[in-house]
Amino acid sequence: MNGREPRAPLARAVRRGDRRALARLISLVERRDPAADRALRELYSFTGRARVVGLTGPLGVGKSSLVNRLIGHLRSQGRSVAVVAVDPSSPFSGGSVLGDRIRIEREDADTGVFIRSMASRGQSGGLAPTTRDVVRLLDAAGFDVVLVETVGSGQVDVEIREIASTSIVVLIPHLGDEVQTLKAGLFEIADVFCVNKSDLDGAEQARRDLVELVALGAPRHGWRPKVVSASASQPFGIDELWAAVESHEAFLDEGTRRADRDRHRLRAELFELVLDDAARRLRGAVEADRTFAELVEEVRARRLDPRTAAERWRRRSARPRG
């Protein structure tokens, strides 16, 4: 399927570099519109080329500012960059305030940068339910790098690992106890640690603490996370930060690491889809089945326990009908 240009008009427009079409298609993906489904299928063969880099970490550590600086750095190397910034939706109103929107000084005509905010729309884990698909759209649209900034709720932002090829965990000096809790959560997902605001007191201590923590842990799949000191406001350390990302990417490119990782993720995704489909069909079958309703009554009357009832239904439905 490689290289076949899509037929869906929006997907074609995205491949042509039409930014409005891309923006539109992202919205359709977010609301799970059938038109988006078709475009995603057609665009899949064009994915897998972008470097997808995640930035995560507690609130207020300056992820957006770092993203701004990384955009500048990548543009100066002539690379195109798309950004997906995820912010939380209110569990009460469903509404969301996204931003301060990432701001970079860019030429008005610069088509090498595309920035999109996403509301998490009810999903915990630091991403929105459709972030993976949105990243794929940006990948298929031809951006060299896709930066994904997560919600920033801290320890639970681990889903980025399923999407990014390199995950940066951003911290600041004096997080102290926070770093301890990171051992269990964010600590496990970092390929690169960035101590932002390293112009502040305590930065060197924070860096040393992290280096020590990293040294204590066993390398994960052969990689020991890098620790970089940076400051988005000064700025300094931005080149080093990107160099650390590149070195992790180079590490993935050795042997079959990238392929193994890709296979592992796609397997999980495919399994999830198969499972969804099976669950849907099974639900239909159960709802239409009188025996199932009878079994529920048996359980309600305490004549059967739920596990035995479920087993009975399974055996019965597995039996070929005469």
Partner: protein, 138 residues
């Protein structure tokens, strides 16, 4: 539009073009719209009209709200309208808020601004107007 799109939240870009640094009004409105279930892209202070147009397109918003307290509204708002037209995005409605004299408000509306909210406009009025401009009155 397919059925699913009805349930998608209204997306609004709230921006402050120009140099005045008073963003309290913009923040209060952003928050009210959020509490009404909308997704508000808060662009923050000192945006140029070109940046606002760009953000409106990339974020695929249903509306753009501009807050101006500097008196430069007759300069900046038409430039946003013009920019949207130049990008074939004039379908995105624009509303404005701030200290805008009635005469200017009338002129802005003639230019295509859908609503102008002066000081003292209730948040309910703003939320309802935004819904109705987005074509999703409840």
């Amino acid at each position: 539009m397919p059925k699913a799109s009805k349930s998608a939240p209204i997306r609004v870009l709230i921006a402050k073009p120009g140099l005045d640094g008073h963003d309290r009004g913009a923040k209060v409105v952003a928050r009210a719209l959020r509490d009404a279930g909308m997704e508000v892209i808060y662009a923050g202070l000192r945006q140029t009209p070109a940046e606002i147009v760009r953000a409106a397109i990339e974020e695929d918003v249903d509306l753009v709200g501009l807050s101006i307290l500097s008196g430069a509204h007759m300069e900046l708002i038409p430039r946003v309208l013009k920019g949207l037209r130049a990008e074939h995005a004039s379908r995105i409605p624009v509303f404005a808020g701030g200290i805008i004299p009635d005469e200017d408000a009338r002129r802005l509306k003639r230019l295509g601004v859908r609503a102008v909210f002066g000081p003292g406009t209730s948040l309910e009025t703003i939320v309802e107007s935004v819904r109705s401009i987005a074509g999703r009155s409840s």
